[in-house]
Symmetry: C2
Subunit: 119 residues, 2 copies
């Protein structure tokens, strides 16, 4: 599970939508942020993560807790655009199947947690 | 939700099993830690939290993220016994009903996250 979390964060910075979607089971469900749209399945995830990875991101793990078939982790994502540096530090929870594929991802963050600095 | 999290942590330090169980909906489900026994209902929760609060604890919020009907939070619990000081820093996820009562709590920590120092 720690390896998958590490690859997820690495792919956020330097991967493609396909790279990230490949970490998930075929019928996996993503809610990012929690309370937002619920995405299910490889196509929807590839599309979603292609948009995410199109930006210039770097991601860093802050805290990881593993228990049962779940990993909860606090991390920092910094997205740099032409005129802004945007930092979010969500707490995500990922559940896994027996093959180590992600079956669900719930990302806990809201607009209040988005810190934007003009470059 | 932030207020309930604050009361939960405060009650871990200076409350009773009834105090904590009173934060939960009647049929709420607790899995602490995730992968362990699943407890459901006020009686089971009162009993569980009575054992927890019988110890000398202090709890401190480290990070709180709220989204949708969920709160995810990283916190520190320090339990002092006659001969040991035990520190755990779980990541818990709580879901709420429309009345602000907790419907579910999942605590992400494992034996590896328990730090024990002999007094």
């Amino acid at each position: 599970m720690a390896d998958v979390v590490s690859r997820y964060l690495s792919f956020l910075g330097a991967g493609t939508g396909e790279d990230i979607a490949g970490l998930f089971a075929a019928d996996a469900v993503v809610e990012d942020p929690v309370g937002g749209q619920v995405l299910q399945g490889r196509d929807a995830l590839t599309s979603f993560y292609s948009r995410v990875t199109a930006a210039e991101n770097s991601a860093e793990l802050l805290t990881l807790r593993m228990a049962g078939n779940s990993a909860a982790f606090h991390f920092r994502v910094v997205t740099t655009t032409e005129d802004q540096v945007i930092t979010i530090e969500p707490i995500d929870v990922i559940t896994f199947d027996d093959h180590g594929l992600i079956t669900g991802l719930r990302a806990h963050w809201s607009a209040e947690d988005v810190h934007t600095v003009t470059r």
